[in-house]
Amino acid sequence: MITKTAWKNVWRNKIRSLVVIASVTVGIFAGVFAVGVMNGAIDQRIDEVIDNEVSHIQITHADFRANNDLACNIKDVSRIEESISGLEGVQAVSDRLFVVGMANTASKSTGVNIIGIDPEKEKEIFGLDKELEPRTGEYFGDPDREELAYIGVDLAKNLNIIRYEINDKVIGELKSAELPVEIISEIEKYSGERFDNERSFKKAMRSVLSDKNESEYGKLIMEKSQTFRERAKFTLTFVDSHNQQTGGVFRVGGLYNIPNSMFESTQVFVQDRILRRLIEFPENTAHQIVIRLKNVDDTRAMTRKLRNDFPGLEVLNWKQIQPDMAMMSDFAGVMYGFFMVIILAALAFGIVNTMLMVVLERIKELGMLTAIGMNKKKVFRMIMTESVFLSLTGGVSGMLVSWIIIKLTSTRGINFGSLQEGFEAMGFSSHIYPEIGVDFFLIVTVLIIITGILSSVYPALKALRLDPAEALRTE
């Protein structure tokens, strides 16, 4: 009866209750949706780290990671790989050579990590082959051509391999993209000109476009103006296993485009066999063995097992290689909970205020209830239940709205295109697919109930302090 009465009491002053419910709905929606976006971004980043950059587990010589010395390599790689491949839960294993060097073109040079891979084996572990930028070539399309390299779009920009040019074709494409005529006519001033790098192109565009037009159309103009000469030449220089300076001329076989601009601008992939020859490295040795598991949840146990099996080698999993990701993965839940607690604490003030009004309005009725035999515990319970119902109604509707919006946006994603550079500098994609687990909704529900209970304490205590005889005299 107390529960039923409390529920009916919520609707006694419909407008007031609906205002509170609406504020809780908006607060919960804002919190849950923001958490959904953050969670989506973090999950995407973790997937990206595992799928393109690190995989689940890496094995190296115990000293390799500290000094990148070519001599710190793993011997008898095929035996180790064979033994790891036979373990239950292992999906694929591959080995890599790893050399630090310089990438050079006629106009630019930059430091890079040169990674020698078996392109086919890598495909079973990483997804970089699927991140090929359209119209830039292929992922090691011709296996016989050893000089082909697979590099990131950002490195290609840094080396001036990607250039920018305004020509008739670009103008035509911009017209088809329905760019305003006055903007096109401004851009046409640069028709026939070629820009070696992004910075000079942006500078030129800024000179003819307003800030608003640049932020609105700049990205599109840049995309359309990009020119890339397939199989452009560049050189890689590095030190071989005898500490002699060496290098080779390579051609860009294709460009990969991932959200991590740091990775993109520093990691160059070449075929294992050419790098091995250039650094004069013996067969059946490698710097790194990368392992993909069937289930990410087995990572910790498998890391432990491999450490026991190969005590002389360093076995690290993705959380140990990327501690920032581990922190995000492990503490994201705590962070989200804390975020929701702050929102609910703010909402609690509104609920306390409403419940205080409720008590003050019903002094006479509360006096009557005490007079006819409703004890203090039950009066407290009734007010507390009413407060919980009020919070929970708003909370459930907020969670429902956020669930619907997250469902709607989780397939198409939300594009923060204007913030792309900033996102990618941190390794995050600017196209985020919000997602949230059922467990988070359960946690939020518990937090809402706690908020309802805590918000009722002060008003309920006020009700308990009422003298029934006095309360009954109230008009």
């Binding site: 009866m1 009465t5 009916k8 009491n9 009725e365 006819i372 035999g373 409703m374 004890n375």
Partner: protein, 228 residues
């Protein structure tokens, strides 16, 4: 059988400058089945006396014994429980719970006492019939007239079969016809169920029906007249 006994009851309110004797040395005894009215001018101490009898207020001095239990010996939580089981209340302004129906208002106390559903339903229907509102079982207070609301309040006061019912100015807000109906119902319940009714009133219509009239003046009993 004695249901209520007041022995030299005093109630003194201390205001800033003076002491006010709201009830002054009142000694009364009520037998089972009485239909008594406490009358007197405003400020004579009627409501204070009724509040003390109901355990809503405590005497400054003297004893109030309900079924031989001294109310002043009970803790506040025990008094609430004691009230629920032994005393029914009817208030001047009905004081029904506006969000509940007539039936729900009546069974509220039975719910607090955890009566089984079937027993609760039977008692509610029985009381609604007794107050002539069986056709308004699902009406909310706002859908009932003042007289009907007060009849529901009487039914609620009787729900848990109390030893006696205290009614503070029960007819003050009612018209003549509603007052007549209400008094007839209370008189019938008093006779049929042998429930003791104690009213505070200055309504001549109630006084006319009462079989015992206690007159208070300045907190003192100035007359205690019984009628047949």
């Amino acid at each position: 059988m004695k249901v209520l006994e007041l022995n030299n009851v005093h109630k003194v309110y201390n205001t800033t400058h003076i002491e006010v004797h709201a009830v002054n040395d009142v000694s009364l005894t009520f037998e089972e089945g009485e239909f008594a009215a406490i009358v007197g001018p405003s400020g004579s101490g009627k409501t204070t006396l009724l509040n003390m009898i109901g355990g809503l207020d405590m005497p400054t001095d003297g004893k109030i014994l309900v079924n031989s239990t001294d109310l002043s010996t009970l803790k506040s939580s025990a008094i609430i429980d004691f009230r629920m089981r032994n005393i029914g209340f009817v208030f001047q302004s009905y004081n029904l719970i506006p969000v509940l129906t007539a039936k729900e208002n009546i069974e509220f106390i039975m719910n607090l006492q955890k009566w089984p559903r079937q027993k609760r339903d039977e008692r509610t229907i029985e009381l609604l019939k007794a107050v002539g509102l069986e056709d308004r079982i699902n009406s909310r207070p706002a859908q009932l007239s003042g007289g009907q609301q007060q009849r529901v309040a009487v039914a609620r006061a009787l729900a848990s079969k109390p030893r006696f019912v205290l009614a503070d100015e029960p007819t003050a807000n009612l018209d003549t016809k509603s007052t007549e109906t209400l008094l007839d119902i209370m008189e019938k319940l008093n006779r049929d169920e042998n429930i003791t009714f104690i009213f505070s009133t200055h309504d001549a219509r109630v006084v006319k029906k009462a079989r015992r009239i206690i007159t208070l003046e300045d907190g003192k009993v100035v007359s205690d007249e019984k009628r047949e």
